[in-house]
Amino acid sequence: MEIIKLEDISKKYKKEKVLNNLNLSIESGQITGIIGPNGAGKSTTLSIMADLIPYDDGKVTYRGSSIKDSKGKIGFIPQEIALYDSLSGFENLKFFASLYGIKGNKAKDRISEVCQYVGLEEKIKSKVKTYSGGMKRRLNITAALLNNPELLIMDEPTVGIDIIARNNIIDILKKVNKQGITIVFTSHYMIEIEKLCTYIIFIKNGKIVEKGKIDEIKNKYSKSNLEEVYTLLNNK
C-alpha cells in the first residue's frame, strides 16, 4: 500500500524548471533511496513530499488524502544539522517535542526512549557543540523521531561523517524501519543505498530516469554494483 504519491508534479524556481511532471509513489514500510546527480531535483522532491514547499502543478496525496492532513505524521531530517549547538541535546529534543505538543513527563519519557534507540543517552545532557559529527547526525535523526512519524524523509542524512558513524546511522535506520516506519532518503553514497534500501528512484533533470528494486536494476543493466548503474544512468 502506498503511503505517499506524487502525480505530475512540476516545480519551477524562478524560470528554471526543477521538476517536470514527476510521478512517484512510496510503498508503506519500504526504505526508498532517491539518487541522482547534483541539481537533479532530489531535495525539491523530498521537500514537496514533506509539504515544506508549494509546487506549481500536480497532486500530492498521503494515504489517499491530501498531504495537508499529514501534519505530525511525517518526520523530516534536513541536510543541515538542524539543532541549536549552544543547547544540550536534551534541551534541543525538549524544544522539538514541545512543538509537537509533547510536554512535561511525556516529553522526558519520549526523549529517553528515542535516545536509547539511537544510543545517545550518555551525552544527551552535554551541549551539542561538544558532539562529534556522527553524534550530531544521530541527534538530528532523533529529533525527527520524537513525534513517532509514519514516514521519515531524510535529505542526505550521512553527509560529512566518517564510515563508522555512517554505518552506525544505517543500523539505526534499519531499526527504525523495523518498527514500521517508512523511510525515503537521498544520498550520494551508493554503498549506503545498497546496504539500506530495497527500492531506488533515479532522478535526472527533474524526471525519473529509472526506478525499481536494486537487484532488478543491477540485473537489468548487467552491473555488479549500484555505483556502476549510477554512472551509466548519469552518462546516458
Partner: protein, 391 residues
C-alpha cells in the same frame, strides 16, 4: 508560541557573548560613567569655609541649608583654621556669620551680616557671595529689590518712589519683626525651584547618559538576538518548526516575546542598579514602563530588518542608512505630520525615549502606531520566506 519564547530565553542565557553584551558590559559602563560624572560633579562644586560667630538658630539653619546645596562644599570651622585653608588655596572664601546675625535680622537691620574674606584676585568668592545673598538671604534680596525698583522704575517720579519706599519698608519691617516669619522665609528661598534647576544640571546629564548607555545596549542586545533567529533558516531548523503545528504568526510572536522579555529583565536590573548606586531619585517604574514598550517595539523593528536583509553582514552594513532614514523620516514627520514628531525627530535617542518624556499618552499612541506598522511589515515580509522558502 510558548515553546519559541522559552527557546529564545534559553538561547540567550546559554550564549555567553550575548550575556556579556546585554548585561555585564552595560553595568560596567554605567558604573564607570556614573562615577566619572559624579567626580566631575564634585569638581564643579565650590569649596567655602563658614565661621558661625553668632551660633544662633537662624545661622545654624542657614549654614545647614548652604551645606545641603550641591553647589558648595562647606567646611565649618573657626576663623584661624579657615584662614589657613584660604591661604593654602583650599577654599574660595571664608564667610563669617557675625555675632548678632539673628538679632539684627529680627529688627530689620540687614547690612553687615556676613563678612567675606577672600584672596586678592579671586573673583569666585564675590560670585559665591552673590549666590548666597541672592538665594539664601531674604533680607539682602529685599533691600536689593528696593534699590533696583527705586533706581529703575521710579527714577523720575520722586512721589511714587517715596510711596513705594514707605509701603515696601512697612511690609519688610512687619515680616521681620514677626519672629515666626523669619526662618520660614529664608528656608523657602533655599528650596526654591531656581536653585534646584542649577543643581539638577549634572544629575540630568548623568540621567541622560545612563539612559543612553542602556539604550545602546538594548539596541545591541535586541539586534543580536534578532539576528540569531536567522540560524533557524540557515540550519533548516525552520523545517522542523514548519512541520509542527506552529504557524508563522505563533513563531513570530514567540520570537518577539522571547527576545524582548530577557532584554526587559536585564534592563530592569540595570535601572535598579542606577537607582541604587548612581541616581537615587530616578523614577525607575516610569523608566521601566517606557523602556518595556520601546524594547518590544524595537524588537519587532529588528526582526523586520532581519527579514529584509537576511544576513548579519547586510544588516551591519545598513545600520548607518537606518539612522539616516530615521532622521529623514523625523523631519518629514515634523512637516507633514504623518509620523509623530516625538517618536522620530532630532536624534535616534529622542526617538527612542519619547523625546524628553513629553506627553506620555501621545507618545504611547505614536509608539503603538509605529509598533503596529512594524508588526504588519514583519508578518508580510517573513511569511513569504516561511511559507514558500527554498528548503
Amino acid at each position: 508560541m510558548l515553546s519559541i519564547l522559552l527557546l529564545r530565553l534559553k538561547l540567550m542565557i546559554t550564549n555567553k557573548k550575548l550575556l556579556l553584551i546585554c548585561f555585564i558590559i552595560p553595568i560596567i559602563v554605567l558604573l564607570i560613567t556614573g562615577k566619572t560624572l559624579e567626580r566631575s560633579n564634585e569638581n564643579l562644586k565650590l569649596s567655602i569655609a563658614v565661621v558661625d560667630e553668632d551660633n544662633s538658630r537662624i545661622t545654624r539653619e542657614t549654614i545647614k541649608k548652604i551645606s545641603k546645596n550641591e553647589l558648595f562644599i562647606v567646611k565649618e570651622s573657626n576663623f584661624e583654621a579657615a584662614e589657613k585653608m584660604l591661604l593654602r588655596d583650599d577654599i574660595e572664601g571664608v564667610y563669617v556669620f557675625k555675632k548678632g546675625f539673628e538679632k539684627n535680622i529680627k529688627i530689620g537691620k540687614t547690612d553687615n551680616l556676613v563678612q567675606v574674606h577672600y584672596l586678592q584676585g579671586n573673583y569666585i568668592a564675590p560670585a559665591v557671595t552673590d549666590i548666597i545673598t541672592s538665594n539664601f538671604m531674604f533680607d539682602i534680596v529685599t533691600e536689593k529689590t528696593k534699590l533696583i525698583v527705586e533706581d529703575i522704575i521710579y527714577k523720575e517720579d520722586s512721589n511714587k518712589s517715596q510711596e513705594f519706599n514707605s509701603k515696601f519698608n512697612e511690609r519688610v519691617q512687619t515680616i521681620h519683626k514677626d519672629e515666626e516669619y523669619v526662618l520660614p522665609i529664608i528656608t523657602e528661598y533655599m528650596n526654591s525651584a531656581k536653585q534646584d534647576d542649577k543643581n539638577s544640571q549634572v544629575k540630568k546629564l548623568m540621567k541622560n547618559n545612563a539612559v543612553n548607555i542602556i539604550l545602546i545596549f538594548i539596541m545591541l542586545a535586541v539586534l543580536m538576538n534578532s539576528m540569531y533567529t536567522r540560524k533557524d533558516y540557515n540550519t533548516q531548523i525552520i523545517t522542523r518548526i514548519k512541520m509542527s503545528s506552529c504557524t508563522y504568526l505563533k513563531y513570530t510572536v514567540g520570537n518577539i516575546m522571547g527576545i524582548s522579555i530577557p532584554v526587559i529583565i536585564t534592563t530592569l536590573i540595570q535601572i535598579l542598579f542606577i537607582k541604587v548606586f548612581i541616581l537615587k531619585d530616578v523614577n525607575a517604574l516610569y523608566l521601566m514602563f517606557i523602556f518595556s514598550i520601546y524594547i518590544i517595539s524595537f524588537t519587532i523593528f529588528a526582526l523586520l530588518l532581519v527579514n529584509i536583509f537576511k544576513s548579519i553582514q547586510s544588516i551591519q552594513a545598513f545600520i548607518p542608512y537606518i539612522i539616516l532614514i530615521l532622521y529623514i523620516l523625523g523631519s518629514l514627520g515634523t512637516n507633514i505630520r504623518i509620523l509623530p514628531t516625538y517618536t522620530i525627530q532630532q536624534s535616534i535617542f529622542d526617538y527612542l525615549l519619547f523625546n524628553d518624556y513629553g506627553n506620555i499618552l501621545t507618545n504611547l499612541l505614536y509608539q503603538l502606531i509605529n509598533t503596529s506598522i512594524y508588526f504588519i511589515a514583519v508578518i508580510t515580509t517573513g511569511y513569504k520566506e516561511y511559507q514558500y522558502g527554498n528548503y
